[in-house]
Each structure stands twice: as C-alpha cells, then as structure tokens.
Symmetry: C2
Subunit: 137 residues, 2 copies
C-alpha cells in the first residue's frame, strides 16, 4: 500500500472525477479480485448514481495507465486487481474459488529463458495454477 490509486492517477496525469475517486478508493481497499459487476456493486453503495458504463470505462482506463491489471480466469468474467511493484501469479482453489497470490523467482527466470530460446523477448506472462486443498493433517 505504498501509494493509493488516487495518488497514482495524479502522478500519471489521469483526470480525477468524483466517480473515478470512488472507484479508485474501492479498488485500493479491495484485497480480492473483483469483477466489474462486483466492483459496480461496491461503488454503488457509496454513490448509487454511478453507471456501470463508467465503471467499465474507468477500469479500462486504469488498466491502460498501468494502475490496474485485468485477469481472465477460467470460465468467467474479467476480474481486476491493483497493480503494484511486486508482481505475482495466482493459485486458484477449484472448490472454493479462493485465490492465493504467490511469487516464484525460479519460475520467473525460467520463463525468460524459454522466451529467449525461441528468439523472443518476454513482455508479459500469465501463470495460473488450479488446485484442490489437500485433505490431511
């Protein structure tokens, strides 16, 4: 939480409207990965007049400015998450839908190597693990 989304907008020169401030606030305070509908629900509680079109426009804008990142997990709507320095990937619980964030430097490094091997520069990647909790202990 080094910088809020609102602060990022200012430093990146994104015009701040009332609606955007609310969306920024809600996303900054969300530790999960809401889809647009869910985000719309949350902002509606603060300002019921905000339209879903604005929410769509805003997440797209924030994504273009590198403020939010969009995920398209299996079989569902797009979900958004605040983009911070620390990159991470996701482990998704197939039973509960719970999402665990993780980082594995070795995997990151190997990905770069694979891209190199084929003559590519790695620009982006997506790694999602789908698992079920072990019975146990």
């Amino acid at each position: 939480m080094s910088e809020t989304i609102e602060q990022k907008c200012i430093s990146k020169g994104v015009k701040l409207t009332e609606q955007r401030k609310i969306i920024a606030k809600v996303m900054s305070e969300s530790s999960d990965h809401p889809d647009v509908d869910e985000l719309y629900n949350r902002v509606s509680k603060i300002d019921p007049k905000i339209s879903i079109a604005t929410v769509y426009r805003t997440v797209k804008l924030f994504e273009e400015f590198g403020i939010l990142t969009k995920h398209e997990f299996k079989g569902g709507k797009a979900r958004y998450e605040e983009l911070n320095e620390g990159h991470h990937d996701h482990l998704i619980d197939l039973k509960t839908g719970e999402i665990i964030e993780f980082v594995d430097e070795k995997i990151e490094e190997l990905q770069k190597q694979v891209a190199e091997k084929y003559g590519y520069t790695l620009v982006d990647h997506k790694l999602e693990l789908y698992g079920v909790k072990k019975k146990s202990q």
Copy 2:
C-alpha cells in the same frame, strides 16, 4: 497424431453424428488453435448447412470428454486445440499473434512444488508467455 478425434469419440462413447464427424476431422487436421468462428468457417466449407450452435455445442462436449482443450488468450475469443498426451504451454507473439508451443519440465516441476507449499494438489495450470520477436542476430 496417435488417434483421431473420431476414434477418441468412439472409445469414450460419444455419439457420432455427421456434424460431429466433420468437426472432429477439421480439428484433427488443424495444427493451429482456431476460435469457434474460424472452426465454423472451416466446417462450413465441407458442409454449409452446419449451424454455429452445433459447433459451439460440439466443442463444449469434446472439451468435457477431454478431447479438446479451450484456451482464453488475452483479449479474444476462446480458442480450441486437440488434447493429446503431450502437455504443452504457449508462447504468443504479441505482434503477429503467432503461437508457439513449448514444454519445460523444470517449470512444470516448480509449479507442483508451489502448489504443495500452499497445501494444494495441482490439478491444472495455465502458462502463457507473451513476447516480441528479437530484432537481430
């Protein structure tokens, strides 16, 4: 190409209709990763009466029977590919859209370890690398 999709249908007990045979044939002969629209185009050349609804129903059915696998690459429609023994991941050229298939045992192994670490059994995963071709040599 050990077994055609049609053969897989038989061994898995999937009823074979004329339409399914055609879709199976087209997919068996496709080495790329067509989306439903593209698949529909190809199938239409063989039998113009097949409806797109049937194509949607069939790829879904084949997916459920582990015959095809569905990819949802960035910003686009779902694309399908025949599922064979050899699992692989994808490296996508951001400029051309070209898709390269690759396998990296070390990454596979590390993924399992990550899941374990969080108390999960890895059931499935998705790894997509997005890159741009290097200038040079």
